[in-house]
Structure formats: structure tokens, C-alpha cells
Symmetry: C2
Subunit: 248 residues, 2 copies
DNA sequence: GATCATAGTCGTCTCCCTGACGATAAACAG
DNA sequence: CTGTTTATCGTCAGGGAGACGACTATGATC
């Protein structure tokens, strides 16, 4: 119930991005190396300030385009999926001033070029396991120092959101190119959940759910073995009944 | 990736509360009447500014206590449940200045006193159906003018979150007093979902899910009919498999 | 007190989905 | 040609949910 807004101290509002993709059978997140204090030289999630006349979702989409060149295309499109994740506003999460960060979650297909960022910042895909590994874990290539700020928590929340959301929605297709096989989709589930799924039961489930997959008529052998049918994501967004994640 | 925070224009950060309860077989939300412009005289969600050294969740809990006297008690406690809902930051959602609002969702048992607010603001429970009814719907007691700001959208999102979350979690018990019967819990589901459930199948489901309900040994006849066993919420927070919401 | 209405509780039956797993098909590598 | 890999179809048993019958234990009403 706002009284007089100007009577209250200002907050900085930013967006942070948890950009996930599946590369080489592993769930990976986009990380950028910080060029300035605090946390200089450490890895962090991409993000930036919300502009004065910009909606939160628009700010996230703009940052995403700046960092990766990816375009968001919400309804049925076959580019990245973007949704709001959560907001983090602990006093002291940024030592410089009070910053409230609205985190967004992006699910993207594996990009041909690793990352073609707009500016010169170092950006790379890193397996989430390594980014979330406790301090002291092996880091042979120096890429797994702990994330800056509270970004480990944000990334963890994003990963958990993605893991649970592919259970009951068709969002896993956002990790796939516009045409994909059942096996490729299965490998997405396996990478995100970190488990092995039975190919036969998976095939029965996804092809038996109306509106989930639409055959394009083509086939491919890019995975080796017998040619597989190519599919496109169907109109269904909700999976009912859901895809069950195996027990731990 | 913050540069110089002071170089960016300030935002006001507030928390808004979607406080839900079940009263007389209807899902109700807490609404307060605005005493000042803009939207003077209209109903709105309770909320207020986040203080300089206050975490977002703490601000929401403080506002909740100020408006209702409810205390939040996260782990297993039998008072209100509070969680972050989403953040709304459209430019222009508040005509006075740029306000980013972090909405929170509260699930509370039916309160004995309707609302015992701290300050003198008029607060009341209103059925969400009426609060969300399109403008022009009947409002015999004048209580259903459209909500101020974008609060109808926020309330809608909160209701949808509650509806889906009681499917796969034990959160429905947050609407019940500390001891309750299976029938009372069923009426919570029926009110939140707006459907009728089979009492026998519901009884089998909730009593057969380990850790969901713990019998206290007592019985009650406060609902009339045969005495019913009293239960307390068990430790389980996730329902697996979930409670299925009947088709539309 | 008998009857009725109201809730609660236990069972049964069928259908559908899932997990486990056998079998076949169609490509490629040697 | 043979082995390897991946895709795809089929079968079978078990669990859970929807539909619904039956019985129980209260208070209200006649």
C-alpha cells in the first residue's frame, strides 16, 4: 500500500539469467567472468540493470540477446524459452549497495557457436555440476571457482525449476533444435535429471501423449544406428499425466 | 553484471500479499480498501515498502503480521505458510513512479476474528471469484469493484499457484486448523479447486499416503454425522503420486 | 425410542499407466 | 557377413485412481 514513494530509500533492480542448455549429455549453464570488483575474476551469471522504461521480462530478453544472440519467442516458437524464476533481495547480497535481482530462467537448444557475446566479456558454457560443486572440488581448467554473489543459490533454484518443470510440461523440447528425434529428447531428460531412462517406455510415453510431438515425416541417422523419425514440438504445453522422474 | 549502481535511476521496491484462506466453502483473499489516490476507495492487496535493511521474505512476514496478526512459521509449524510468488515490474503499473513489487503468497487457516488489522485500514476477506469477476458483475454489497493496480493479475497468479501446489504437496493443511478431519481437508480441496471430490476415494488417498496425516487419537463431531478422526499434518511435504485434480 | 439425515469409513471392481524386459528393424563399421 | 548401435513394437504384472456399494455412528425430528 504505497504511501509516498520518494520517502523511501532507492533500490537498484537488476535481472540475472540462468541460461541452461544440454551439451554433450550434460546440463550446462551460461557463466561470464567478472572483470571488476567485487568478485573480480570469478564466474557469475549474466545479468544487468533494468532500464527506466523497461519491463522485467524485456530486460531479461535484452540481456539474453546481448550475451548470446538468442531471441526469445514465447508462443510455440522454436527458439529459447524464458520465464521469471524468483527474486533475490537479501540486504548485503551485493556489498556495494542494496540490489534486488529478478532472476529469469532460459532454456535454450545447444548453440552452434559456443557463445557469441555482444561485448568482449568472457562467456562460456559450464556444466552445472561443476558450477555448483562445493569449493575445493577439482578444477583442472580453473573454471569452477565458486560463483559470485548468491549466484550459486540462484543457479540451483533454476536447475531445480527446470528439473521439475520438464516433468509436467513439454518444456524439454526447448532444449532441442526445431526438429529432433525421440532419442534426442530422451537424452535431454537424461542429462537434466542425471538418470538413465528406458528407451522403450520413454518412446511409448512421448509418442502416446497427444499434442506433444508432431512427426515431420523426415528421418535422420545423425545419432547412428537405425534411422529415427523426426518430430517437431506439438501444441500441447502441459503433460497429463506427467513424465515420472525415477526415484533417486 | 552491475557496473555503477548509482548511475542508474532508483526503483521503489514493495511486497504485495496474496493471503488466501477457506471460509464457508469458498476460497477467499484478504483485500484492503485504499484510502488515498490512486485508486482511492478501491480494493487492493495488502502490501508495503521493503525497508532498507530488510529481506524480502521478512518484509512480507512483517506486512502480514501488521495486517492480520498472523505469524509465519516455516518448518512444519501450524500457522500460516508464506512463499514468494512472483515479481511485477511493468513501467506504469503505479502511475506515481516506478515500483517493482515482489508478490508473496500466504495460505492461512480461517481466522476466528475476520481481520484484526494493526492500523485502521479497512480489511476484509472476499471470495476470489468475486474479486476476479470481470467488471460489471453483480456487486450487491459494493465489494467487487475491480482491484487496484495490477492486483487482479497478481491475485490470479497466486490462486493458480495455490491450486496447482496442493496437487503435489501437503500445503492444503495450511488452510486447516492444527487438528482437522479428513472431511475438513477434503472441503479445502473442493473450495480451492471448485469441484466436488468423492469422499471415499479422497479418504483412501490421504490416509494411504505415508507421512501426510498423523492421527491424534481424538475425534470430533463438529461437522455433524458420525464422529471423525482428528489428524495433524505429518512431516511429508511432497505428495507422490500427486492428488489428481479432476478434469474440467 | 424409532426413524431419518448426515458424515465417516471400509471394500470391491475395472481400467489405465507404468516399469521391466523380450524381440525385431535398419543403419554403419570392420 | 557379422557385430554394434539405435529405433521401435509387444507383452506382462502391479499399482493407483475412478466409480460406487455397504456399513457405522452420531444428532435431529417425530
Amino acid at each position: 500500500m504505497p504511501y509516498d514513494p520518494s520517502a523511501y530509500p532507492p533500490f537498484a533492480v537488476t535481472v540475472d539469467l540462468v541460461v541452461l542448455t544440454v551439451r554433450r549429455h550434460a546440463l550446462c549453464a551460461l557463466a561470464v567472468r567478472r572483470g571488476e570488483a567485487p568478485f573480480q575474476g570469478q564466474w557469475a551469471l549474466p545479468g544487468g540493470f533494468v532500464r527506466p522504461e523497461e519491463d522485467l521480462g524485456a530486460a531479461a530478453a535484452r540481456e539474453l540477446a546481448e550475451e548470446t544472440g538468442l531471441r526469445v519467442q514465447e508462443p510455440g516458437g522454436h527458439r529459447a524459452h524464458l520465464e521469471q524464476l524468483a527474486t533475490y533481495g537479501d540486504p548485503g547480497r551485493d556489498p556495494r549497495m542494496r540490489v534486488v535481482s529478478v532472476a529469469h530462467l532460459v532454456l535454450a537448444p545447444d548453440l552452434p557457436a559456443p557463445v557469441s557475446g555482444g561485448d568482449a566479456k568472457t562467456a562460456r558454457w559450464a556444466p552445472v555440476d561443476r558450477l555448483l560443486a562445493p569449493a575445493g572440488a577439482d578444477r583442472e581448467d580453473g573454471s569452477s571457482s565458486p560463483l559470485a554473489f548468491d549466484h550459486a543459490r540462484i543457479l540451483g533454484d533454476g536447475v531445480e525449476r527446470a528439473r521439475s518443470k520438464i516433468e509436467y510440461s513439454s518444456l524439454a523440447t526447448a532444449f532441442c533444435p526445431s526438429e529432433f528425434t525421440v532419442g534426442e529428447l530422451r537424452r535431454v531428460y537424461e542429462a537434466v535429471w542425471g538418470v538413465a531412462l528406458d528407451p522403450r517406455n520413454f518412446h511409448r510415453k512421448v509418442t502416446g501423449t497427444p499434442g506433444f510431438l508432431v512427426p515431420t515425416g523426415g528421418t535422420t541417422t545423425r545419432q547412428g544406428g537405425r534411422p529415427a523419425q523426426l518430430f517437431r514440438a506439438g501444441g500441447a504445453t502441459l503433460l497429463n499425466p506427467p513424465m515420472l522422474r525415477p526415484e533417486v
